[in-house]
């Protein structure tokens, strides 16, 4: 499919932009942060997004979803990035992919409708390392009869605090498998983290925790698909974050006066801003390409997801440090929003692999280095 937006996609972007501005503006993030919310997101606004079809819109129609594809989910994620919207869209999208691809018919029928209507937030626990490393899996699944129990530790669980359900990877007889764990399960300990971006992030400890196996076959394809989607959605979110912060910065360059001139008239700053504009323009194509590749079932979809995550992680970091610098002193205060974008860009960049991780992955798997 062409790397241009269809009319439907343009309409989706417009409506998403309006909805995020109304239902999840940056002010809402501040209120949640300062109000001591443990969830760090607002379930009411999550319902509003679900009513508008924004939660896991990529789930296929045959599975009861809207079948709008990864592209729609990505365009929504990009708009969410623009207002730093704190809604559990990413975690539910990842969980929905896992259930849709690895779950049994019964599990799909039970869970997917609740994901899509916003009544169930599921957190997926894959990570066990300090840095993203999907190859590392030590959590053990023990079987006795039809019952499974899990033992191990998980890190960087997105929206893991207060989740209605957990999807957890573990080794079953030495083979990676996925399991469903309920929040009240015995031996499950959820430790809330306090991350820089004021989001919901947790570590899990599992000690003989009862679990239900997700499907019964090989889950490696489902895991790979969930990682690809999650990476492409994070890249799209990072694009929205970087875009919005860049626009705020350009606006500031046009308004701030020093030496009797607007600072945006200084060529030293103009060239730095113009270079970021150029890189953001390239990034738009890269992000859309990754989403389209997923929807087309391309053999290269996974590599395009890595390309987009690598490219956007580095670019968002570069845009945000320039955004803070060009704002000067006020840029490092909590009074304005730039710092919030700066922090979220860092966190979103780390999740599911930063530029270093994906560069290394592509070096090995695509470039043969």
């Amino acid at each position: 499919m062409a790397l241009t937006l269809t009319d439907d996609e343009n309409m989706l972007v417009e409506s998403a932009r309006g909805l995020f501005a109304r239902a999840a503006p940056v002010a809402a993030l501040r209120a949640l942060r300062d109000g001591g919310s443990t969830l760090h997101y607002d379930l009411n606004s999550h319902s509003v997004f679900a009513e508008n079809g924004f939660v896991a819109p990529h789930v296929a129609e045959v599975d009861g979803g809207l079948g709008m594809g990864a592209a729609a989910a990505g365009l929504i994620a990009e708009q969410a990035g623009r207002t730093l919207a704190t809604v559990p869209l990413l975690s539910v999208a990842i969980a929905a992919t896992l259930v849709a691809q690895a779950g049994s018919q019964t599990q799909k029928a039970r869970l997917l409708p609740m994901f899509i209507d916003g009544s169930l937030v599921a957190a997926t626990a894959l990570e066990e390392s300090i840095r993203h490393d999907p190859a590392r899996l030590e959590t053990q699944a023990e079987q006795s009869g039809a019952d499974w129990t899990l033992t191990g530790e998980k890190r960087a669980v997105i929206d893991g605090v207060g989740a209605g359900l957990y999807l957890i990877s573990a080794l079953a007889g030495g083979v990676p498998a996925l399991f469903i764990v309920t929040p009240d399960a015995r031996g499950l300990d959820v430790q809330a983290l306090d991350p820089i971006d004021s989001r919901n992030l947790a570590r899990l400890r599992l000690a003989g925790t009862p679990a239900e196996r997700l499907g019964d076959g090989d889950t490696s394809a489902a895991l790979a698909a969930a990682l690809d989607l999650g990476r492409a959605l994070l890249a799209a979110e990072l694009l929205g974050i970087a875009d919005a912060a860049f626009e705020q910065t350009v606006a500031y360059l046009k308004e701030r006066v020093q030496f009797g001139k607007r600072i945006g008239s200084f060529q030293a700053l103009q060239h730095r801003a113009a270079r970021l504009y150029a890189r953001l323009d390239i990034a738009r194509g890269v992000v859309l390409k990754a989403l389209r590749a997923i929807d087309e079932g391309s053999d290269e979809a996974s590599q395009y997801a890595s390309l987009s995550k690598s490219y956007m992680t580095r670019l968002a970091r570069d845009v945000l440090v320039e955004a803070v610098q060009m704002h000067g002193g006020i840029g490092v205060t909590d009074d304005i929003d730039i710092g919030l974008f700066f922090k979220r860009a860092r966190a979103a960049g780390e999740l599911l692999g930063d530029d270093h991780f994906h560069t290394e992955r592509l070096a090995r798997e695509r470039f043969g280095l």
């Binding site: 241009t4 046009k254 001139k261 008239s265 103009q270 390409k289 070096a363 470039f367």
Partner: protein
């Protein structure tokens, strides 16, 4: 002359094109590594790289397929955008050489279509399509590089003609060209941008002379071109008198997009391929910094390749941003320079050889960052037009 194929059905058209190409593209016009020397550039004194390429050019020109999407009355093939795409795809499929390379096709033709009178179009476009005239372009001057609008070459109004005096620099293959389209100051009283006209000048005039410019790579693909009392008919002004800047801005957009995007995918071997061929995986493992640099370059190069794909899609959908040429020029040429630098590093002592292809490529790469409006000019353009940052 054969008439152009006018079939409504794309798959019929593709089949026809395929059969015609199979029958008419000689083997010597296929799988040619396209360099300046191995290409046909047309002109009054044509030099054909091979007999097969001569035949190939003549057959393509007879159908108007040197410029497939130009109207037939101007020497084109009269094909739709879609048919042109099919022809290009089918040519790529058999690795057919471009039958005619030409600044007339890429630059002057589009400007004439937009700004020329009907008489000018009928006079010049068929000559471009048939490769009868080899065109040069004349913008920069020794004292007007980035500050292009300060050109001093002047054309004095003598009633029926302009008397042109001055000099242009960076004329590509100026010694081999027949005519030049040039920016000349014709309205000395007007403000700097408004006093310039876009003139067509015959280089066979004995009062037009050229002098080669030797580059750091050792070759001389450019000349300085001198005009001493050259008479240029009034009819040779393209667009309005004094509004040559508008024509130039339009042309430079074309050129920038071409420079930036043409560089991204023309290399026959990727940097990874070169790294693996020269050093192997083990060699790279011993130099993790170099391996990392190769990987980072590959990612940037890949991203720019995606941007070119997107640009083409936007072109088809008519949603291309006017700022894209500057973006592609800036990032495409920088990426290309880094590529040549990495290749030099990979080749070490071997590539220090003057005669090496790599050294030649590296020594030419900086010129892409300068030509067509230096990259600093592109940043100025983006700052002012895309971001609308203040002048104060």
């Amino acid at each position: 002359m054969e008439t152009a194929l006018k079939l409504d059905n794309d798959s019929d058209f593709r089949a026809e094109v395929r059969a015609w190409l199979d029958a008419n593209c000689p083997s010597g016009a296929r799988n040619v590594l396209q360099t300046s020397e191995s290409s046909f550039w047309g002109g009054r004194r044509p030099v054909y790289p091979s007999a097969d390429q001569k035949l190939w050019f003549e057959r393509m020109a007879a159908r108007g397929w040197t410029v497939p999407d130009w109207p037939e009355q101007y020497g084109g093939g009269g094909l739709s955008k879609q048919q042109t795409n099919i022809l290009q795809q089918e040519m790529r499929r058999i690795a057919a050489a471009s039958p005619l390379q030409s600044l007339g096709i890429w630059m002057l033709g589009p400007a004439l279509m937009k700004f020329g009178t009907e008489e000018q179009k009928l006079r010049h476009l068929p000559d471009i399509a048939r490769g009868r005239i080899r065109w040069a372009q004349g913008y920069s001057e020794p004292n007007a590089g980035s500050d292009l609008a300060s050109i001093q070459t002047r054309g004095e109004d003598m009633g029926d003609h302009f008397l042109v005096n001055g000099s242009k620099i960076w004329t590509t293959n100026g010694d081999k060209c027949d005519m030049i389209f040039a920016l000349v100051r014709t309205e000395p009283e007007a403000p700097k941008h408004l006093g310039i006209s876009f003139l067509l000048i015959d280089m066979d005039d004995p009062d037009v002379t050229t002098k080669p410019i030797r580059l750091i790579a050792g070759d001389s693909p450019f000349t300085q071109t001198f005009f001493d009392n050259v008479k240029v008919p009034m009819a040779n002004v393209i667009g309005e008198r004094g509004r040559g800047w508008d024509v130039t801005k339009y042309l430079l957009g074309h050129e920038r997009q071409m420079i930036g995007s043409a560089l991204s995918n023309t290399a026959p071997e990727t940097v990874s391929d070169i790294a693996l061929r020269l050093l192997g995986k083990d060699g790279l493992a011993r130099e993790p910094g170099l391996r990392q640099a190769v990987a980072i370059h590959e990612i940037e190069n890949w991203a720019i390749g995606v941007a070119v794909e997107r640009m083409q899609d936007q072109g088809k959908a008519r949603t291309l941003s006017p700022h894209t040429p500057s973006v592609m020029k800036l990032l495409g040429t920088e990426n290309n320079y880094r590529r040549t630098e990495l290749v030099m590093a990979l080749g070490g002592e071997d590539y220090l050889d003057q005669a090496s292809h790599a050294a030649h490529g590296w020594l030419h790469a900086p010129s892409n960052c300068i030509a067509g409006g230096s990259n600093e000019i592109q940043l100025n353009i983006l700052a002012k037009r895309a971001l609308e940052l203040p002048e104060d």
